[in-house]
Symmetry: C2
Subunit: 193 residues, 2 copies
DNA sequence: ATATATACTTCAGGAGATTAAGTATATATG
DNA sequence: CATATATACTTAATCTCCTGAAGTATATAT
């Protein structure tokens, strides 16, 4: 009688394996682990190490996102009215909040802002790299993205997307105000609400 | 000399923990595991069990998606010029592509669209639920989101965010064209490019 | 100098994951 | 029918994760 285990995905792995017509041995061989380990994992007898789980997921072509999908349960719509949104004012930059945490304690997977950058303004002196991914679209104005040692010029209507883990800086290089929508995943939680 | 470990996320956990000002002891106590385990995980000395990893990720409010992100990642900026973007035309709906896959074979974690919905138009007859999360902001017009059996009314400037796994439908309920930016994670790959 | 406190690391031993060998059941084959 | 082969599950030994206590490091106080 153990079952201290909390997150069970054994059934999912088994289902996929069987649908693909693999045997325990097949998977075990490819993953360089024992047949019995696969058996126990599929029956939720053990909580495998992350290494082994990813290995097995890889072999069966299972997105781990799917394995954990019943673990992340956030089923709320969070609406933020334009009149209620917060903003952070800096010298040349205004960041308007566009997303809020859902009601539950769980966090949303995206966070969005409306960026307004005045002439010669910038989001930060080569902001430190951080995890995740960013997406942006230029609503008005001319922008330059400095990314590592590369530079990208963007005009109205252009959109872009990149991993955030390389230092980056977003600048207004035109004469009018630069407006852009910015979406970050995972959330950085600039607004606590 | 062990180091059979393949996927290292220790640094990420440590970085987040420190940014949040938690000590090893704080996290250990909340997760009901030992301080030394946290220390070893953060220094990649062990590959923790899935149970423990999820527990710790929860406490630090880290999306596991992020922990595994260099496992499925790419590091390219992909820019899409407004003149080059594709669009899907339906009777009352136009979907303009705002993001593209990076050069590498790995997929980006977000996909973005500019939605234009004509009077009385809708994105789909209660579109089937699918995994992930969506974020939207209304640029122009009046909208209604049907979500499960709930309904949300949205006006210009309002933004919203919700998990996609419940059937949902997005409708124009005003007299002019509804324009909205829509971000989906993970990508649905409407545009193949 | 010594004490006290906080944050983290190391190490030996115990708990739990993983292996190798053995059991069980089914289907085939001569 | 015997026995051979294939798949999945169990058991006992082994290895890795994990714990608890002791140790290092740095800071602040007395």
């Amino acid at each position: 009688m153990k079952s201290k285990m909390k997150y069970k995905f054994g059934e999912k792995i088994r289902a996929v394996r069987e649908r693909k017509g693999y045997t325990l041995k097949d998977v075990a061989k490819k993953a360089h682990v024992s047949e019995s380990l696969i058996s126990q994992i599929e029956r939720n007898k053990v909580s495998p190490s992350v290494d082994n789980l990813l290995l097995i997921a890889d072999i069966l072509d299972i997105d781990y996102e799917y394995l954990f999908s019943n673990y992340r349960q956030k089923r709320m719509v969070s609406v933020l009215k334009s009149s209620e949104r917060g903003s952070i004012q800096k010298e040349k930059v205004v960041i308007h909040q566009l997303s809020i945490d859902g009601g539950s304690s769980k966090e949303p997977e995206v966070e969005a802002f409306l960026l307004e950058i005045k002439k010669n303004g910038t989001t930060g002196d080569q902001e430190y790299g951080h995890p995740g991914r960013e997406f942006g679209i230029i609503l008005e104005g001319e922008a330059e993205l400095l990314y590592g040692n590369e530079s990208y010029i963007l005009s109205e209507g252009d959109s872009l997307s990149f991993p955030s883990d390389i230092p980056h800086e977003f600048k207004n290089r035109g004469n009018k105000v630069l407006k852009a929508i910015w979406v970050v995943t995972p959330p950085r939680r600039l607004f606590k609400n």
